[in-house]
C-alpha cells in the first residue's frame, strides 16, 4: 500500500517550474490523487448496487458484439439490433479492442443476437471499462491544471485555481451521471478533447491538432467545434506573424505548417475511413453517422432555442383554440401529447427543417469564428470560441441530446477559474445545464443520488469560485432564477406525480424542466457572446 502510494505520487507530480514560493501544498500532488481516487471510489460504490440499465448500456454492448463477431465489412451494415453502429470507425476499433478484454468476462455478451443481455459479469465489465478509460480524462485534467494561468497565488490549497479546476472537472456532475450511472464513454472522449485543448494552451499545436483529429474520428459530434479548431490553427499556427494592428500578415504564411497539419488530418482520416472507402462503403457509413430521419428535438427536449420555439408554438395553438381563432380539427393530432413523440409538428409557427438548423448554427458561431480570425487572442481566445461553437450548436442544432451541454461546460471550466466574469457565466450555465440532465435518471432510487451529487457539485462550484474571486458572482435576478430550479424540482418530482394530471398529461414535468432550463442556457449563451464581443471591442480600442 505504502509503496503503491509513493509510486503513484512520483508518477503524477507537477514539474518544478510550476512550484511557487511558499506553497508547499502544491508540490504535494497527493491532493490530486485524493480527488481522483475519491471520484473513482464513489463511482464504484454507485455502480456496485446499480442494476438498472439505460438504453446506452445496450447500445454499447451491441457494438462490442458487432465489432467482435463480424468482419469489418459488415460493421456498418449489421442491423439486428435497432441500435446500429453510428459512431465513426475509430470508435468501432475502440470497441473492438475492448471486446478482447470483454471475452474474458463473459463470452455471451459478444453475441449479436443476445439483445438486452445483462449478466453480472457484463455489467461489471462495462462499468469497469468506463472507469479504466477515464484514466485519459484524469491525465488530461492534470495537464489542463498545469496550464492554468495564476494570478496572486493564495496560500490555501483549497483556494488555489489548480485545485478548483481539478475538482470542477473531475467531479463534474454531468459527466458522473452520464458516464457512470447512465452509461457512456464521455470521460474518455472529453479526456482527449481537454488534452488537445491543454496542448494548445501549452503551445504544442501539432499534438493538439492530432488529438482533435483522433477525437473527430471517435465521435463526430465534435464536428460542431471543428470550426474553432480550423480557423484557430489556420490563423494562429499557419500564419506566424501579425501586423501591428493585430490583423493577419499575409506574407507570414507558412506552407510547411499547413502541410504538416494537413498530413496529420489526412493520415488519421485515412486510417479511420480508409478501409471503408476501399470497400466502397463510404455512403453507407455516412448514412449511419448522419441520420436526418430523426426529429428536430430528441424525445426529451434539450434545453435549447427549439424547446422555446416548440413551447411558443404550443402556447399559441392553445391560445388560438381558446379564442376560437383556430379549428381544433385542423391542428396536427400529435401536437398535444408532444414531448413523448419523436416528430413534433408545429401548428402555428413554421416547421423547422435540418437545413434551417444548420444555417442557424452556422450563423450563431460565425461572429465568434470571425473574431478569432481578425483579432486572435491566443489559445485562450480559441478556447472561448470553442465554447461558443459548442454552445451555439447546442442551442440551434438538429436533434440535440441534452448530454451535449457537457461539450460546452467542461472546456468552459478552464476559463471559469481564470476570470471573474466567466465564473459568473459558468455558474449559470453549469447549474442549469446540469439540472437539465435530471430526466436522464428517472427512477425513485436514483433521485437521492442525483440530488446529492448535484448539490455536492453546485455547492462546491459556488463556494470555491466565490472564494477565488472574493465576492458574489451572480446578480439577484440570476440567483432567483437558480433558486427557481429548486422549486421546479420539487414541483416536477414531488408534487406533480401526486396530482391527478400525472396520468392524463405525464409529459408536463419534462416540458417544464426543458423550457425553464432553456431560459438559463440561452441567457448564458448571450452573456458569453457579449463577453467575447466586448473583448473584441476593447482589443480594437487598444489598437487605435
Amino acid at each position: 500500500m505504502c509503496y503503491l502510494y509513493v509510486e503513484v505520487h512520483s508518477v503524477i507530480s507537477i514539474p518544478p517550474r510550476l512550484i511557487h514560493r511558499g506553497q508547499a501544498s502544491v508540490y504535494d500532488t497527493g491532493w490530486y490523487i485524493v480527488l481522483c481516487c475519491g471520484v473513482v471510489l464513489l463511482t464504484m460504490t454507485v455502480f456496485s448496487g446499480y442494476f438498472s440499465h439505460s438504453t446506452d448500456f445496450e447500445v454499447h454492448r451491441n457494438w462490442l458484439a458487432i465489432t467482435h463477431s463480424l468482419p469489418v465489412s459488415k460493421w456498418y451494415h449489421e442491423n439486428t439490433s435497432e441500435w446500429t453502429l453510428d459512431y465513426p470507425p475509430l470508435f468501432a476499433w475502440f470497441e473492438y479492442s475492448l471486446s478482447h478484454v470483454a471475452q474474458h468476462f463473459d463470452k455471451e455478451m459478444l453475441v449479436v443476437q443476445n439483445l438486452l443481455y445483462t449478466s453480472p459479469a457484463t455489467i461489471l465489465f462495462q462499468r469497469l471499462s468506463v472507469i479504466v478509460t477515464d484514466i485519459v480524462f484524469i491525465y488530461a485534467v492534470k495537464e489542463c491544471c498545469r496550464s492554468v494561468r495564476e494570478e496572486k497565488g493564495s496560500k490555501d490549497l483549497l483556494g488555489h485555481p489548480f485545485f478548483i479546476l481539478a475538482a470542477l472537472l473531475l467531479w463534474n456532475f454531468g459527466l458522473l451521471i452520464v458516464d457512470h450511472i447512465h452509461f457512456q464513454y464521455n470521460g474518455f472522449l472529453f479526456g482527449i478533447l481537454l488534452l488537445s485543448v491543454a496542448r494548445h494552451l501549452q503551445g504544442r499545436h501539432l499534438e493538439g491538432a492530432l488529438l482533435f483529429t483522433v477525437l473527430l474520428n471517435l465521435k463526430h459530434i465534435y464536428l460542431y467545434i471543428a470550426p474553432a479548431y480550423g480557423i484557430f490553427l489556420l490563423r494562429s499556427y499557419c500564419f506566424t506573424e501579425d501586423n501591428t494592428d493585430g490583423s493577419v500578415r499575409w506574407s507570414s504564411f507558412s506552407p510547411v505548417r499547413l502541410v504538416a497539419l494537413g498530413s496529420i488530418v489526412i493520415s488519421v482520416g485515412a486510417l479511420s475511413f480508409g478501409p471503408f472507402i476501399a470497400m466502397g462503403q463510404l455512403p453507407q457509413v455516412l448514412s449511419r453517422l448522419f441520420p436526418f430521419k430523426r426529429g428536430l428535438c430528441h424525445a426529451y427536449w434539450a434545453p435549447n432555442v427549439w424547446a422555446l420555439y416548440n413551447m411558443v408554438d404550443k402556447a399559441l395553438s392553445v391560445l388560438g383554440v381558446r379564442l376560437k381563432l383556430l379549428d381544433v380539427a385542423k391542428l396536427p393530432k400529435a401536437s398535444m401529447t408532444g414531448g413523448l413523440v419523436q416528430e413534433f409538428q408545429h401548428s402555428i409557427l413554421p416547421s423547422v427543417s435540418p437545413s434551417i438548423t444548420l444555417i442557424c448554427t452556422l450563423l450563431s458561431i460565425m461572429p465568434a469564428v470571425l473574431s478569432i480570425w481578425c483579432r486572435p487572442r491566443g489559445a485562450r481566445g480559441f478556447l472561448r470560441c470553442l465554447v461558443v461553437c459548442a454552445l451555439g450548436s447546442f442551442m440551434f442544432g438538429w436533434h440535440v441530446h441534452e448530454k451535449a451541454i457537457l461539450m460546452a461546460i467542461l472546456p468552459f471550466s478552464i476559463l471559469a477559474v481564470e476570470s471573474r466574469e466567466d465564473a459568473g457565466i459558468f455558474l449559470m450555465l453549469t447549474t442549469t445545464g446540469h439540472y437539465s440532465l435530471f430526466p436522464l435518471l428517472f427512477t425513485a432510487a436514483e433521485l437521492p443520488i442525483k440530488v446529492l451529487l448535484m448539490l455536492l457539485f453546485t455547492l462546491y462550484s459556488f463556494t470555491s469560485l466565490k472564494k477565488l474571486f472574493r465576492g458574489s458572482l451572480l446578480n439577484p435576478l440570476e440567483t432567483t432564477y437558480l433558486l427557481g430550479l429548486v422549486a421546479v424540482e420539487i414541483l416536477c418530482e414531488v408534487v406533480y406525480p401526486l396530482s391527478p394530471w400525472q396520468h392524463t398529461m405525464p409529459f408536463v414535468p419534462l416540458l417544464v424542466t426543458s423550457v425553464y432550463c432553456s431560459l438559463g442556457v440561452c441567457y448564458s449563451f448571450i452573456r458569453l457572446y457579449v463577453s467575447l464581443l466586448r473583448q473584441h471591442g476593447t482589443d480594437k480600442h487598444k489598437q487605435l
Partner: protein, 498 residues
C-alpha cells in the same frame, strides 16, 4: 472556503456514499422462510402497528415470537410504530398483519432505506459534526477532515445501509450524550444516553464509562455540597427518562419481566456463529461451549468482563476528563465485546463509535482498529452480497483517513501517547502494513477459494481469529494510553503544535 460549505460538502459526500451502498442487497433478500434483519425490522412495524402495546413482547396467536419477535427495548418499538404509520400511508400492504410476512418489493426497499437515511440525517450526522467542531482539537481544516473520516467509517455504513439496521440511532444518541457531556451539560447528556440505552440494550457496553464519568464529576465537586445536588439531578433525570420510555409497560410487573427476558436471552449460549471475541477464538483450542454448563459460562464471562473494564473505570472515576472518558468508552465497550456473553459480530460497532472519536488524537491506532472492525464482519457482508461495497468503502476509508489525517506522519513517538512504551511504535508501523495486507489477502481468499471439505468454516474462523488478535492488542494499547496518560506539559505542547 468557509467552514459551513466544507462541512456540507463532507456531509453530502457521506450521504452519497450511504445512498450508493443502500442500492445494494440487504440481509436475507429473497431467502424464505426466515429472511433476515430487514424482514425483522419490517415485521416489528407490522406487529407494533397492528397489536396493542401489551402484546408486543408476548407470544400470542397474532405474535409468533419465534418469527423475529421483538427483542429490543421500547424505543425501538416506538420507532417501528412511527415507521409503520408512514408505511401505512404509502402502501397498507407493507404492514398488513400476517399477510405482509416476507414482503419484498422495490418500493418497500426504497422506503426502508429512506427511513435509515432520515434517522441518520437527524441523529447521527449532526452529532458527528458537533463533536468534531466543538470537542476535537486542531485547525478548522482538520476538524472538517475528522467529520469526513468519521462519516466514511465503512462498518456503520455497510451494516445500516447494506445489511439493514438502525445503529445510527442508538450510536447517534450515545454520541449526542458524549457531545453534550463534553459541553458540560451533564443532565442533558445523561438523558441522551438513557434514550440510546432504551433504543438498543447493547448500549450497556457504554454505560459504565458514562456512569463513572458522571459519578467522578460529582465526587470532584464534593459529595457533601454541589456534587450531591448534581448526583440527585442526574439520578432523577435517568429515572424519569426510563419511566417515560417504559410507561406503557409499567402497569404490570409481568410485562416488565417479559420485556427484560426478551432483551437478555441468557439461554442462547456463550456465542453464536463466528465472532471475533475471546470465547469464539478460544473455542478453536478448547471446546468451552460443550465442556462448561451455561451457568458457568455466564459466570466466567461476567468475571472476565468486569476484570477487563476495572482499570479503565477506576482511572476514569479518579480523573473524569473528556479525554479519559473517550478512552474509557473504547476500553469498556471493547472489553464487553471481547469477554461478555452472547456477543454478535455487529456489536463491534459499539467500540468503533468511541474509536472514531479518537481519529483526530490517535490516527494510526484508530484507523487500524476501524479497518479491523470492518474486516471482522466480512463473513456477514459476503452472506449479504455486499462484497463490492465492502471493498470500495474500505479502500475509500483507508485512503481518505490516511491521507487527510496524515496518519503516517502523525505517529511520531509522543503522539502515539505510549509514554514509557516507546519502542513498541516501530514495531507498530510494520505491523500496520502487514495487517492491512493480510486483511486484503484473507478477504481475497474468502471470496475466491473454496475451503477444504473437512473445514467448511475455515475462512470465517481465520477472519475472526485474525481480527480478534487486533482487538486484543488494541484493547491493551488503549488501556495503556488511558492509564499512562502523558503529563500535562506534553499535552499542552501538542495543542500548540496542532
Amino acid at each position: 472556503m468557509e467552514n459551513w460549505s466544507l462541512v456540507s460538502i463532507c456531509v453530502l459526500f457521506g450521504l452519497t456514499a450511504r445512498w450508493a451502498v443502500s442500492l445494494n442487497s440487504y440481509s436475507g433478500a429473497g431467502k424464505p422462510p426466515m429472511f433476515g434483519d430487514y424482514e425483522a425490522q419490517r415485521h416489528w412495524q407490522e406487529v407494533t402497528y397492528n397489536l396493542p402495546v401489551h402484546e408486543w413482547y408476548f407470544n400470542t396467536t397474532d405474535n409468533n415470537l419465534n418469527y423475529w419477535g421483538l427483542d429490543y427495548p421500547p424505543l425501538t418499538a416506538y420507532h417501528s410504530l412511527l415507521c409503520a404509520h408512514v408505511a401505512k400511508l404509502i402502501n397498507p400492504d407493507w404492514v398488513e398483519l400476517h399477510a405482509s410476512r416476507g414482503h419484498e418489493s422495490y418500493g418497500h426497499k426504497l422506503f426502508m432505506r429512506a427511513t435509515v437515511l432520515v434517522a441518520d440525517l437527524l441523529i447521527y450526522i449532526p452529532a458527528v459534526v458537533l463533536y468534531s467542531f466543538y470537542l476535537s482539537e486542531g485547525s478548522n481544516k482538520k476538524k472538517v477532515c475528522t467529520v469526513l473520516c468519521i462519516l466514511l467509517y465503512p462498518g456503520l455504513i455497510l451494516i445500516d445501509y447494506g445489511h439493514f439496521q438502525y445503529n445510527s440511532i442508538s450510536l447517534g444518541l450515545a454520541l449526542w450524550g458524549v457531545v453534550v457531556l463534553g459541553l458540560g451539560w451533564d443532565v442533558l447528556g445523561s438523558l441522551a444516553f438513557v434514550l440510546s440505552l432504551n433504543y438498543k440494550q447493547m448500549e450497556l457496553y457504554h454505560s459504565l464509562p458514562f456512569f463513572c464519568y458522571l459519578l467522578g464529576k460529582c465526587f470532584k465537586q464534593g459529595l457533601a455540597g454541589r456534587g450531591l445536588f448534581l448526583l440527585v439531578k442526574i439520578a432523577v433525570t435517568v429515572l424519569v427518562t426510563f419511566a417515560l420510555c417504559w410507561l406503557p409497560f409499567l402497569s404490570d410487573p409481568g410485562q416488565i419481566l417479559q420485556v427484560v427476558h426478551r432483551l437478555f436471552p441468557v439461554g442462547r449460549g456463550l456465542f453464536e456463529d463466528k465472532v471475533a471475541n475471546t470465547w469464539c477464538s478460544l473455542n478453536v483450542l478448547i471446546k468451552i461451549k460443550t465442556i462448561l454448563s451455561t451457568d458457568t459460562q455466564l459466570y466466567i464471562s461476567l468475571t472476565t468482563t468486569l476484570l477487563a473494564i476495572l482499570p479503565s473505570s477506576i482511572k476514569l472515576l479518579m480523573k473524569p476528563t473528556l479525554w479519559q472518558f473517550k478512552l474509557a468508552l473504547v476500553n469498556s465497550s471493547l472489553a464487553f465485546f471481547l469477554f461478555s456473553f452472547q456477543v454478535h459480530e455487529k456489536s463491534i460497532l459499539l467500540p468503533a463509535l468511541p474509536v472514531c472519536l479518537l481519529l483526530n488524537d490517535l490516527p494510526l491506532p484508530a484507523i487500524w482498529f476501524l479497518q479491523a472492525s470492518t474486516f471482522s464482519m466480512l463473513p456477514l457482508f459476503l452472506k449479504d452480497g455486499l462484497l463490492v461495497p465492502y471493498v470500495v468503502t474500505s479502500l475509500a476509508f483507508l485512503f481518505f483517513s490516511i491521507y487527510l489525517l496524515s496518519a503516517l506522519e502523525h505517529c511520531s513517538e509522543d503522539k502515539l501517547r505510549l509514554g514509557p512504551y516507546r519502542q513498541l511504535y516501530r514495531i507498530g508501523w510494520a505491523l500496520f502494513y502487514f495487517s492491512i495486507t493480510a486483511m486484503a489477502g484473507l478477504s481475497f481468499m474468502s471470496v475466491a477459494l473454496a475451503p477444504p471439505a473437512q473445514l467448511p468454516d475455515l475462512f470465517p474462523l481465520l477472519v475472526s481469529v485474525f481480527s480478534y488478535l487486533h482487538f486484543l492488542g488494541l484493547l491493551l494499547y488503549f488501556n495503556i494510553v488511558q492509564i499512562a496518560e502523558p503529563p500535562q506539559s506534553v499535552r499542552k505542547n501538542q495543542k500548540k503544535s496542532n
